[in-house]
């Protein structure tokens, strides 16, 4: 009886789940880029990347407060406004990622420390940034009493309406912007990595860092660029996240970060196109799973995917990585 109910529910929810899954997956994919790029170049899982995302959401809310936005945007005005917010958040997150690398990773790298040391430094930086925001930055920035810094802060600016309605397939403006925005960013990044000089330097460093030095590639500059780009993508993801959810708090990056990391592993860590594929697949699996088994199972399903991928196909769906791939 239960099973037929579930299947019935799933079929009924198919199109809404698909749309939600693609929107959520787009955000995962953009965050996953940061994990995958840094891993490709340094073989480091940058666990503080989730806080780089959080900083992006705070930049968006900060901008909304600073601009005194009180009216809601819809239509093309919303698109333009999201582009401005994404630019600001990308700047804030990208700059934070560069500083993070300089403070938490570079000194270790220069000393030739082990990868385990860098990983511990990453976890330390993640906790530090969370607490810094909960206790100081958020209360100061939003005029809150100190003890309320850990509570969610809001930023409303979206007037939602449905832009596509074909039978059961209903797509709202925010989800459409998220999906299209994420795809555009991925295409731009793909072109950048394949066609520009800096992009070639990043690929060379990922494929063989010592030989890259023999070609005159300044590895430090490549690492800085990688963190800047990965951070900026997380910032754009933060703007798109705010478009959908309109609130964030100091640990908003935690769960999303682990999900995005799962997406990166699912697509094949080190592989840029894999990050997109992994993000979208994970988003869909989560939403379909929620429709089948109930939303309380959403996270269980996502992390079961991580465990299964690590067990049976640790190289991910697309297998080859930034080290090997043309992209």
């Amino acid at each position: 009886m239960k099973a037929t109910h579930n299947v019935h529910n799933f079929l009924e929810q198919f199109w809404p789940s698909t749309v939600d899954g693609l929107a959520l997956g787009s955000i995962y994919a953009l965050i996953a880029l940061g994990y995958t790029m840094v891993y490709g170049v340094l073989r480091l899982i940058n666990f503080a990347h989730s806080e780089i995302f959080m900083i992006g959401t705070m930049a968006v809310i900060g901008a909304l407060h600073a601009l005194g936005v009180s009216s809601l945007y819809g239509g093309l005005g919303l698109v333009g406004f999201v582009i401005v917010l994404a630019f600001l958040a990308g700047l804030a997150s990208g700059a934070s990622a560069v500083v993070l690398e300089l403070v938490a990773y570079r000194p270790l790298r220069k000393k030739g420390a082990s990868r385990l040391a860098a990983l511990i430094s990453a976890i330390g930086a993640s906790l530090f940034l969370q607490q810094l925001f909960a206790r100081i930055v958020i209360p100061e920035a939003f005029d809150l009493p100190k003890e309320k810094g850990a509570l969610p802060v809001q930023g409303h600016f979206v007037e939602r309406d449905n832009v596509i309605e074909i039978g059961d397939l209903v797509i709202s403006n925010d989800k459409l912007i998220i999906f299209v925005g994420a795809i555009l960013m991925m295409v731009a990044l793909d072109q950048f990595v394949n066609r520009t000089r800096l992009g070639r330097g990043i690929r060379a460093t990922a494929q063989d860092p010592e030989t890259a030095v023999l070609m005159g590639v300044n590895i430090d500059r490549i690492v800085t660029a990688t963190f800047a780009i990965g951070g900026a993508m997380a910032g754009v993801a933060a703007a798109l996240f705010m478009l959908r959810f309109e609130e964030a708090k100091f640990d908003v990056g935690f769960l999303l970060g682990i999900k995005a990391f799962t997406a990166a592993v699912l697509g094949g860590i080190g592989n840029l196109r894999g990050a997109l594929a992994g993000g979208l697949v994970l988003g869909l699996v989560e939403m379909y799973g929620a429709a089948l088994f109930g939303t309380q199972w959403q996270h269980v399903i996502a992390f079961s995917v991580l465990v299964l991928v690590l067990m049976f196909r640790p190289t991910g769906i697309l297998g080859e990585s930034l080290q090997q791939a043309r992209a």
Binding site: R200, A204, E210, T211, L214, G216, V217, N218, Q324, R326
Partner: protein, 257 residues
């Protein structure tokens, strides 16, 4: 002197890989550094290119002390290297690999590219193929061609004959001579001492992180100790003295091939 290595010491952790290597390469020469596996040949080249820090001694290039200059800047000043294991970027095409050679350099490079294709017609035929899918010989040509794209004044070659069939080895060595004829100085590291001594002007013998002999290449070809140790002359005693060649402190350079 174009390149002078003066009494350099290099350590991996606490273990000394080089203890006091000195050698000189003059403009226009082919100089070879021969020695057994793990003697410190690759470490010497990596240190000259700035991939390994030295703990003592210095490296002079064109009269300037470059011991503390960052590796990526040494390329611009004219030190090019085709590394051990070739270091081909597997996901890049032949042309992309070659263009990495002029990553740091500005200006028109089409003439250099044409020259490399003329020297290695095989690379021109395969210019859109991924580097990782090429044969060992082709990869070696690509590694040398790519090093030439850095427009080097001295070209460092690390075991270009490794893993190649005899016919290909002949071909690679005659190309090395051609490159030298066209005006590029060459420092060649080889385990294939026979071939290396035949193309080089001068040679050094390295054992367990130390230079134990240096002479005209032709003289070393006739040297009974060198013949015995490196040219298949029968006796198995190394040149430097009583110790067996793998015994002392020089660790094997980690390989990436």
């Amino acid at each position: 002197m174009l390149l002078e290595v003066k009494d350099i010491h290099v350590h991996y952790g606490k273990i000394a890989a080089l203890h006091g290597v000195s050698l000189e390469v003059d403009e226009g020469e082919i100089v070879t550094l021969i020695g057994a596996n793990g003697a410190g040949k690759t470490t010497t080249l990596k240190t000259i290119s700035g991939l390994r820090p030295l703990s003592r001694g210095k490296i002079m290039f064109d009269g300037a002390d470059i011991s503390r200059v960052a590796g990526h800047k040494r390329v611009l000043s004219g030190i090019g290297q085709a590394p051990e294991g070739r270091g081909i970027f597997p996901g890049m095409t032949v042309t992309e690999n070659l263009m990495m050679g002029c990553y740091a350099r500005k200006g028109d490079v089409s003439r250099d590219l044409a020259q490399v294709f003329e020297l290695f017609p095989r690379l021109a035929e395969r210019k859109d193929q991924a580097g990782g899918t090429m044969s060992g010989g082709e990869q070696q040509m690509l590694a040398i061609g790519r090093a030439l794209m850095t427009n080097p004044r001295v070209l460092l070659l690390d075991e270009p004959s490794m893993g190649l069939a005899p016919k290909l080895i002949q071909q690679i060595f005659s190309i090395i001579q051609e490159i030298n004829r066209r005006g590029t100085t060459v420092l060649l590291v080889e385990q294939n001492a026979q071939q290396a001594l035949q193309v080089a002007h001068r040679a050094y013998v390295i054992e367990t992180g130390e230079i134990v002999k240096s002479a005209e290449a032709s003289a070393l070809l006739d040297d009974p100790e060198v013949r015995a140790a490196y040219l298949g002359g029968g006796a198995d005693r190394p040149v430097g003295g009583s110790e067996p060649e793998q015994a002392a402190g020089a660790p094997e350079e980690p390989r990436d091939g």
